[in-house]
């Protein structure tokens, strides 16, 4: 009896937890396939309504969404690649090389993530103005690499520390040069970590809003976020469709990332 009761409680908690995360997302997804007239009519149904794809057709016919998408893909991809290359090199060096103050240098890179964004924005805006770079798409690359480098270095450092150094030593004994060791041993072994780090960075930069807005780059989040400025009668179905459109790509990383995160504790 008591056992039955407790397994019922577990079931309830599990379902509750699932709904806690699922319902909000489900609600915006259904909102995106309601028609504006249904929404303003005051009727309310979570599931039973006549679907209308007007909001999605509006979204796909909106040229700003596509220019935003292309800009977002470009900036997020390039910055991720640069940050992952720089960060992985540094992480490997910190993990395997001993020099005076190596922990301090590692910590120094991590501190860059603690800078309040406004403290980065204010000096940059003067420099970009001076160089006439406000509104140019590439003005995002430096701030983006700056905010993703700390996480990259930290995650890769934790990951590379777990690769046994004996593998590298035996390769050295067999006559591989340091570069060959990196190419043949370290890179293949850190591939899952690299994939995880790249996904995290891409998601972070894909969703970045503040710098894109401030430096006048209309990336996808900026285009989507601009929709909220309607004063009266917010077109919720259209906004919902855009909101869902924005979240689809990074959400596809969830399955892979949850497995990686659960695999081993990541500390500093």
């Amino acid at each position: 009896m008591r056992k039955k009761f407790s397994s019922l409680l577990v079931l309830l908690l599990g379902v509750g937890l699932f709904l806690f995360v699922f319902l909000p997302i489900f609600y915006i997804a259904t909102m995106s396939i309601k028609s504006q007239s249904y929404v303003v009519s005051g009727e309310f149904s979570l599931i039973f309504f006549k679907p209308s794809f007007t909001a999605w057709i509006n979204t796909f016919n909106n040229p700003r969404i596509w220019t935003g998408l292309s800009l977002s893909v470009r900036t997020a991809t390039i910055s991720t690649i640069i940050a992952v290359i720089l960060g992985t090199m540094a992480a490997y060096g910190f993990s395997r090389y001993k020099f005076r103050g190596d922990d301090d240098f590692l910590f120094f890179i991590l501190t860059q993530r603690m800078l309040p964004p406004i403290a980065i924005f204010l000096p940059y805006t003067l420099v970009w103005q001076y160089l006439d770079m406000i509104g140019k798409w590439y003005n995002l690359l430096i701030p983006y690499v700056l905010i993703s480098l700390p996480i990259t270095t930290w995650l890769m450092h934790a990951y590379i520390n777990n690769i046994p150094i004996e593998l590298e030593e035996s390769a050295r004994v067999e006559g591989c040069s340091q570069l060959e060791v990196i190419w043949r041993i370290v890179l293949p072994n850190s591939l899952p970590g690299l994939l995880m780090t790249s996904m995290f960075n891409f998601a972070l930069l894909w969703n970045e809003y503040m710098f894109a807005l401030f430096f006048r780059n209309r990336t996808l989040p900026v285009e989507v976020g601009a929709g909220i400025r309607y004063v009266e009668l917010t077109p919720w179905p259209t906004l919902s469709a855009q909101g869902v459109f924005l979240m689809v790509l990074p959400a596809t990383f969830a399955f892979y990332l949850q497995k990686r995160i659960r695999e081993q504790p990541i500390t500093f």
Binding site: I28, T111, P116, A119, L126, I228, L239
Partner: protein, 298 residues
């Protein structure tokens, strides 16, 4: 930690990241520090720059709206971080105790739990603005069915901030849970078996096994979430725009408005940013100090 070698090549691997962080991170901070002692106004580009000492600091510290925004930033970051870590711990314990041996359910629920963290703040802001909506919102609809009146979650001065914080906790607690779950799994099983033998209660296990073994990870997750909380402009500006009035306005939003949106007082905003920077560094030092002390104690 691995035995470190002294190969020269490895030193050059570290250099680019360190140099980049210095040039792109530290130099701009120094530039902001310098600017905070001048009278730069982006609305008056022809005005000659003049050194005005600590005037900007005096003005910004005496600014009521800046004080309020600073308070809001601290409330948002602290409440959101503590909330997400505690709820994350509760979820992690649930996953550990009941789903550890059910890989399919565990994978499914973990994937679901991670989606909000990967979702952009703009989408999250839309999701919750919609849920909180007095007319269309699911929450007010349910409250209505239960016989309660409409609650203006985002336009009531007293609860707007808490509504935004709750959204933040919703977004990050699953993320924290997965990190902490990894820590729970790595606690040696024998500890729990021993606890079973002596008949320790759940709270005794929490107090004497789980918390002590998870301390380092808890602080790491706390630090990570705190850093995420500092970037709150996107969430709050789309959810409330800093309103009602300035009830949810954070430092980022006010200083941006001061420097670019409003009167162009870039130097005064820089002084505010430097103050924020100092507060951030000091609070991180405290957390990291705690972290290292417990590491030594291990």
């Amino acid at each position: 930690m691995a035995i470190k070698s002294r190969d020269r090549l490895l030193k050059y691997l570290v250099a680019p990241a360190v140099i980049f962080s210095f040039v792109a991170g530290v130099l701009p901070m120094l530039y902001a520090l310098r600017n905070s002692f001048y009278n730069i106004n982006v609305r008056l580009p022809m005005q000659t720059e003049r050194f005005i000492g600590i005037t900007n600091y005096r003005l910004i510290l005496g600014d009521n709206r800046f004080q309020a925004s600073l308070r809001n930033s601290i409330v948002f970051s602290l409440e959101g971080t503590i909330g997400a870590v505690l709820l994350g711990l509760a979820i992690a314990l649930f996953l550990y105790y009941f789903l550890r041996n059910r890989p399919l359910l565990l994978t499914g629920l973990s994937t679901m739990l991670l989606i909000p963290a990967l979702t952009g703040r703009i989408s999250v802001a839309y999701i919750w603005r919609l849920l909180y909506d007095p007319v269309l919102g699911l929450i007010n609809h349910v409250l209505g069915l239960l016989g309660f009146g409409t609650v203006e979650f985002l336009s009531n001065n007293n609860i707007a901030m808490q509504s935004v914080v709750f959204t933040d906790i919703w977004q990050w607690s699953g993320f924290a849970a997965l990190f902490l779950y990894a820590g729970l799994v790595s606690i040696p099983r024998e500890y729990f078996e021993e606890a079973q033998v002596i008949g320790a209660s759940f709270f005794q296990r929490l107090r004497y096994i789980i918390i002590p073994n998870l301390k380092g990870l808890l602080l790491a997750v706390f630090l990570l979430k705190f850093m995420i909380s500092l970037r709150n402009f996107d969430l709050i500006s789309v959810m409330t725009g800093g309103g009602p009035g300035t009830a949810t306005e954070t430092v980022d939003m006010y200083l941006y408005w001061l420097a670019v949106g409003g009167r162009g007082l870039l130097s005064r905003a820089s002084a505010g940013a430097i103050i924020m920077l100092v507060i951030t560094i000091v609070s991180f030092m405290i957390i990291i100090n705690l972290y290292q002390r417990q590491k030594v104690g291990e």
